[in-house]
Amino acid sequence: MEPRVVITGMGVVAPNATDLTSFLKAIRNGESGIEFHQNLKDLNFSCCIGGIPDISEEHKRRYFSDLELRGFDSSGILYGVIAGMDAWNDAGLSSANDEVDYDTGMVFGTGTSGVDKFRDAVYKLDEGKVKRLGSTAVIQTMASGVTAYLGGKLGLGNQVTTNSSACTTGTEALLMGFDRIKSGKATRMLVGSCSDHGPYIWGGFDAMRVMTYKHNDSPEAASRPMSETASGFVPGSGAGALVLETLESALNRGATIYAEVLGGNVNSGGQRKGGTMTAPNSEAVQRCISDALKEAGVTPKQIDAINGHLTATTKDPVEIENWTKALQRKGDDFPYINSLKSHVGHCLAAAGSIECVATVLQLKHQFLFPNRNCEDVHPEISKQINPNQIVTESKSLSLSHIAKASFGFGDVNGCIIFKSYNS
């Protein structure tokens, strides 16, 4: 029989909180992590706001040695290592020995790694100073840099890899780890994703005009998923991490169990039937959700709430339509729905994992966090669902199943079904 898979530890570094306890408080209270950034304005960005986690030097030094911090300039690896180690410690696991843990692996994704470090390297290279790159350029700019750092710190001996699927990355990482445990190849997997911050990662999106330029003077009101006045996403950054393990292993070591992962699905729309490099094929999105339910063995009726992808672009009503079709539920019958992007913006490759952490916290603590900035629900959404199903104030209630989905450039989709765990 395939093992059941549960979540026993979590870590998060988000624009509105940099540890799990403060993150729980922040999302309950609907705290925004979006701020104005003068450097974006100086560089002529249309969108001069964004979400950057506030990590002090002292905070860094709890996770990295002085030597590691020499020439260190990769914000994604910074966030990923902090979130990953926090999840590991939160799970009650230790890393302070010389043994290799061959039963535990890691899938930790990213979009690009160390973009600031890479910029610095390119300048040196173009000046003919290749030697000046030293030993630090490769490990900080290779995509798998974050897993390389974490794997060494934790002594993991199973598969240790980095996945990349744009804004689906974090959700996909969780499902890849889940599959590895289900197939019996690992007992425990650290999963998550991270994303750098700053102009060199966000610039391309600004150029595509997909980020909002209307809220430079009102950053906290800028990220408006499902709102009629949503005018583009707000860029964010950070990392989320979760420890997955077999139920048997968790019970044997008396670990805290946050929730169970029942199953999920990843697919692609093939950039056909309306799908493009940047827009989803709706048929594939619906299929991804339906197949996730099938794999999890739950019916659409059992879904109590949805944690959407919902980026605050004009495409939000299409996502709602896809949910209504996939679940065959609309109007008053539609599940509760919210989007963490209203708090932290769109954390790109880190979005899926940070949002998974938020989703699991909701199940563990039996509440739904408020979706900020949705006092003016988009009419194309209120035509499809009762607007009261959009959670706008923190709500305590009994929750059993939550569906979490992410969609990314390249027409890729991911959907996970989480269930609350009762011993």
Binding site: D66, L67, R70, G71, K131, R132, G134, S135, T136
Partner: protein, 83 residues
Amino acid sequence: MTREELIQSLKKIVEPYVQDQEAFQNLSEETDFINDLKINSANLVDVILDVEDEFDIEIDNDAMEKMLSVKAALDIIESKLSS
């Protein structure tokens, strides 16, 4: 610069990379960077960059390959400084 002064400068340069503090306390000309000080071999290129900066010299690939001990480093630095 005397040999002793050079050793003191070199000590300051290698200190951040050293993984064996006891060997570092007993550093002498015979000390080997990798075997004694347990410096990660990948970090040797960083030590050399720091040496170049400190003494305003350039260390070529051939010299770099030989720079595995305090003695070898001192010899190379001295020869570069005098040339």
